[in-house]
Amino acid sequence: MSVLSVVTWAAVAVLVVGSPIVFVWFLFDVGKILHGPASEPGEREGER
C-alpha cells in the first residue's frame, strides 16, 4: 500500500468516523449549552 493510499484512507476515516464522534460529543453537551450560564465579559477577563 502506497503513501498516497494510506493518507487517503486516513482522511476518509477522519471524515466518516471522526465527524459522527464530534456530533455525539455535542449531543452530550446540549443541556449545558442551552441551559448553562452565559460567559460574561468579567469571566472572560478572569481567563487571563
Partner: protein
Amino acid sequence: MTLLDHSIVVVYLVGMIVLGYAVSRSITGFRDYFVAGGRMTTPLLVCTLVSTYYGLDVLLGGSEIGYLDGVVSWFWYARPYYVGLLLVALLLAGRLRERDFLSLPDVADAAYGKGTRAVVAVASFFYSLPLFALMGMGVLLDVAMGLPFVWGVVIGAAISLAYTLMGGLMADAFTDTVQFTLMCVTLGIAAVLALDGVGGADALPALLPASYFDPQGTYPTAALLVFATGALSVFVEPGIYQRIFAATSRRAIFGALAIGIVLWSSYDWITALLGMTAQASGLEVEPRYALLTLVSDALPPGLTGLFVAGVIATGMSTVDSYLLIAGGNLAYDLYRPLVNPHISDAGLLRLTRWSIVLACTIAVAFALFFTSMVSAWVFVTAVLVGAAFVPVSAALFASRPLKATAGLASSLTGLAVVTLVYTLVNVYGTESEEWGTVIWTVRFDGRTFDVWQDYAVLAALPASAIAFGLGQLLGPERPRGRHGRPT
C-alpha cells in the same frame, strides 16, 4: 435522482427550519442572538467552525484545482491555512477574549476609533455576503432536482434566512452540527466509491501526469505565493472571530481549532483527490463541477440524495453564518455606534434581524446578476485582508499606544490599493483561459511582467503597512479619557 433521493433532500431542508425554531426559544437579547451568550462548547465550536468556514467554494474550487493540476491545491492553497489557524488558536484567541469584543470592527474601534471601525465593518460586510454559496446552491438544485437556477438561489437563501432570523448564532450553530456531519460523512463515502471506480488511490499515478503529484504543480511561484497569502485572511476572518467570542472559554476554542485543523486537512485532501479521480476516469466536464458529476455517477439511489443534502448543507452552513455577520455589520458595527449609540438591546436585536433580511436581499440580487462570482470572491477576500490585516494585527499585538490616524490610513490605503490593482488589471488585462483569471501584461524597460488580478493583496499589504507607519509617526496623539485610556 429517484423519489427517495428527493424525499431525503426535502426532509433535510424542513428539518433545518424545525431545528432553528426549537433553538430560537432560548434567545433573550442581542448577546444571546449574536454570540450565543458565550455558551458554545468545544464540540459545537468544531461543528460550526468546520462547516461555516468550508463552503461550496472549497468543495468546488478545491476539486477544480485537483482536476486541473493535482495535489498543489492541498499543499499551497490549503496547508498555509492550517498554519494560520494554528497561530490563531495559539496567539490570537486568548488576546481577543481579554476584552469584551463582539465583532472584528470592535477590535479596530478599541484601538483607533470609529473611522477605522467603519472601514473594517464595510470590508467585513462585503466579504460576508455569501454570493458564491448561493450561486452554488442554485446550480446544485438545478442539476440535482431540475429546479430553475433562480428558484434554487431563492429557496436556499430563504431557508437559511428563516432559521438564522429566528435563532441567531445558536440556531445557526445547532443546524451546523447536522450539516457538518452530513457534509463530512457523505464526502468520505463518496470518495471510497468514486476511487473504487478507478482502481483505488494506488492506481492514480498510472492514470495521471507526474505533475499532478508535484506539490507545486505547474503554477508560477508568484501565484503560489498568492495562494499562500490568502491564509492571512484567517487572522481577520469575521466568522472565526465571532466563534472565538461565542466560546465558553479560551480552552474550548483552542481545542475546537486543533480538532478542526485535522478535519479541514482531511476534507481538503479528499476534495483534491476526487478532482484528480474525475480527471483519471476521463470525465470531460466543466472543471468546477467535476466532483459533483463524478460522485453523482458513483453513488447508488438514497446515497445520492444524502450526498446532495450534504452539498446543500455545505452551502447553507456558510450562507446562514455570513448573513448573520453581514447583518451584524450593518446594525451593530455601523448603525449603533455611528447613528444611535443609545439604542436599546431589544431595538438592536430587531434592527439586526432586519439588517440580515437586507443583506440576504443584496446577496441574492448579486448572485442572480453576476454570471461568475469566483473573481468577485477573490476580490472581497483581498478587500478584507487589505483593509483589516495590518491595523487589526497591530491593535492586538502592539505594545505601544496606537494613533487613530495610523488605523484609518492603513485600512483606507489597503482598501484603495486592492481596488486600484483590480481596476487596472481588469481595464488593461485580458481573461486567461489557462489560469482562469485576468492578467495584465506590463512592458517595462524591454521586459514583460504578467500581473494577475489576484496579486492585488501582495501590493496592498506593504502599502497598508507603510501607511500605518506614517500615520503612527505623523498623526496627532489621541485624546485621553479620565482613566488615561484613549477615547
